[in-house]
Symmetry: C2
Subunit: 567 residues, 2 copies
Amino acid sequence: MTQIRFALAQIDTCVGDLDGNAAKVLDFARRARADGAQVAVFPEMTLTGYPIEDLALRRTFRAAAWDRANRLAADLAAEGLGGMYAIIGTVGTDHANAKPRNRLVVLHDGRVWAGYDKHFLPNYGVFDEFRIFSSGDRSVVLDVDGARLGVAICEDIWQDGGPVAELASRGIDCLVTINGSPYEEGKTHVRRELAAKRAKEVGAPLIYVNQVGGQDDLVFDGGSFVVDADGTLLAQSPMFMEDLAIWTLDTAAPAGGQPKGAIAPAPDPDEEVYTACVLGLKDYMAKNHFTGVTLGLSGGIDSALVAAMAADAVGGEHVWGISMPSMYSSDGSKDDAADLAANLGAHYDVQPIEPLFDAFQRQLELTGVAAENLQARIRGVIVMAYSNAKGLLAVATGNKSELACGYSTIYGDAVGGYAPIKDLLKTRVWQLARWRNKAAAAGVGIGGLKVVGNEAGDLGTPLKHGVMIPVSSIEKAPSAELRPGQKDSDSLPEYGLLDQVLAAYIEHAHGRADLLADGFDEATVDTVMRLVDRAEWKRRQYPLGPKVTALAFGRDRRLPVTDAFRE
Amino acid sequence: MTQIRFALAQIDTCVGDLDGNAAKVLDFARRARADGAQVAVFPEMTLTGYPIEDLALRRTFRAAAWDRANRLAADLAAEGLGGMYAIIGTVGTDHANAKPRNRLVVLHDGRVWAGYDKHFLPNYGVFDEFRIFSSGDRSVVLDVDGARLGVAICEDIWQDGGPVAELASRGIDCLVTINGSPYEEGKTHVRRELAAKRAKEVGAPLIYVNQVGGQDDLVFDGGSFVVDADGTLLAQSPMFMEDLAIWTLDTAAPAGGQPKGAIAPAPDPDEEVYTACVLGLKDYMAKNHFTGVTLGLSGGIDSALVAAMAADAVGGEHVWGISMPSMYSSDGSKDDAADLAANLGAHYDVQPIEPLFDAFQRQLELTGVAAENLQARIRGVIVMAYSNAKGLLAVATGNKSELACGYSTIYGDAVGGYAPIKDLLKTRVWQLARWRNKAAAAGVGIGGLKVVGNEAGDLGTPLKHGVMIPVSSIEKAPSAELRPGQKDSDSLPEYGLLDQVLAAYIEHAHGRADLLADGFDEATVDTVMRLVDRAEWKRRQYPLGPKVTALAFGRDRRLPVTDAFRE
């Protein structure tokens, strides 16, 4: 009987930051060793960050990564950690055709050992790996202190056949997988089912270590785990935070008989999505060297929720909210914005746009939509002025419903380097705002993130009207306030209905006939399709704003809808 | 002996516009038939446009394309054109895995005949086909009036092996290829060498029909041709314009003995690049339903060249130039802008930004770079106001040198849906401006495009100072005019040197050691690398502006440079 103690090192890497990523590996390796681990497992492409895209094609970058891996192995040995096996991901080179490889290596005894190259290179949705890498063509079994460990990288377990099928026939004691699997709602369950299937296939427990953190427009949720050959969950790391979990393999145990490790509880669905948004913003800022945020605070629900997320990400004292009232702004809106800023402990400035609007209009004399856009763009200039003057990240506050329907001004409210709620439909925005108010009241912490301004009073003052996000921001009829009495419902179907049609049309790619079969009435279907197609057309005309994606928290190329065809 | 008369139908399609593309096929088929053609060959993905990217993944779009192909076959037959063979490209479905295919079909006798599916799916540079399509796995030979015609699609001839190798062993009389090959400088020569190699391999002449026109951020240059098995050029269509060329195959002719067709002359290098820029802009406007352009006219060379391109694309009367002088603008700059607008027959408005700047500054009190950016952003608001009020496309005037070095303001001078010279280094901008002045003086027409304002006087008035683009715009020291006495050379190396380093670093992916070996001095190398890396970092922070690409006229994902590593 052999027992192997594993550390699941769920870390947050940064694309291109070889030194920073190596330092993190060293830090977690120390902790793993202190916990008695013999094997420390890190996520996919640990050293380079993930996804590195075309950066992998740069020869000098691959050379630097190779040097850094060797140096890291030496650093580990120099600290007396050379006896441990550190399984990390990095970029390799296929010298036969000078193409990059998505590679797993083992750092041991001061050297870089055994390389395994990813076989299945995903090339759909947010993934572009086949574009960049060439495929590995052999399976690898590591002999570690008498145990046979098979290895695989992410997509290798999502496809039938290939290295996992080979490992099944070779016989292993454990399948170790390193992953860079981005967050999607409901994916925890899908991953676990899949891992259980592969564990059964190889007849051994499967270790799944996932990357955590935001990288560009993706969020990786972590949630690493171990599943036994009979499907039993043996260990579960938390989502959305770095973590080092320990689990011990017993090579003599029967299927279903492996020892258990710690099981982190699952968050509730609203908490999960909210935390994904906060982590995405937080890491976007950290990896792009921003310490503070600025945004327009209109008193509406979108900017209110984004401000709360920003405060949870970096602390209210690093958030600059700007109220930019026009002649059409209601007093209630201004009060709501001020109350929220006070509740979050955020900076709050008022910059009326009327004098600026008047100055432009003396020269331009705009009317209609052009005059409405002018207001939005003056606000964009002000937000960017704060960004430049104070070194703050400007964030855009648009939600997925309004972006999908083109209810937004390019260079106006769309201004910003990051758009935290661009993947949330409007009804979800309301739902998360309500959840955030409950979370503030209950004083809960979320996935390692601190909720700002809870009732326990970390700001030392009670919440205005006893609630974090003002109730009127949530309950009033949405309005862009760009002309007198304007309401979103003048231009769009009610959001409850709109969001259902948008989900079916965009996320599930239902065509017109499908949408009618879904039970939506013809007039609504045609209105929504026309709005979405027209907005997509506009986005192609000015391809510079936040994109609407078919996937949540993902990236697409051309949004696969167009007004150029009809069923 | 059999003779087959081919029509090379070099057409400009539009992505997603099934009806428009079908109408164009019908029109060219009529003309081909009138010229006695038995076979009309169209470009890759004729019916759907190219590249269609993720749109191909939409089932409803594929169904619509399939229906449209059938209808087109019927339409051809109804007009008495059913006896001709029309070889077109479209999207198919691989029913085994429900994946799209890049397909060639033959319309004949009112039906859609023989499908050939592209085998090699390019997945590098501007191409993403492996992401979208599945590969065909068989070669196809068409028997047309007694001649054996092999077929292939674009990348199929760029790779060894596959369908062309199969056709070589099957024996054919002619290899017909349909292509969507984007423009790059020098590619004419590369394509012809390659085609000659494949013609030799199959022992038969090769017909190369290429798409022409701009599509999104790509430009297709046409330049279709026929090459004999011995490498002799048999026919050559012009670049950058639609064309119908006729060439006759003689199945009994020996290699090198095929009859010749018309050979269009090659443009000179400056003409070629200039025309690519004009065509890209012209088609971007047409396909996005814009009839006019607006831009800021500073009196500098970048906006001057863009204005000339815009006038050549759509006529000076559809160009709105806006002079937006500040307190730092020189009188010379304002005069140059006015002279150019007059020469182009463009609209010309003056919108001083000082009153607007003062209004913002009364509230914001900005200094330094924030105050400089404010000026650029006020201009962005004005340009977008013209865009909205008059339905014009705003074009950005930045060149590749300044974009690469981050010498540009996001939401300021970077505002625009299209950036016609973003792929031209500054020294090339000067060169093309000089060429354009010569072209105007000589009154030449370029690739089917009309040069506006030539000396022959199509505007009826002589050119100001006898030259189209004012000499001082070309010769004065470049300046952003955002602070007193500012010169580009305060922040950047001299452009002559800078452009050489940029070309090596970005386009040829030379690392630091390579650049030193190229003979650049260390201080310059480090300055340029720092500027480019920092600008790329900034672009990642605000991923919303024109991108700098390693390829000319192309698209990249992440620019493969970063400050995160050093050799």
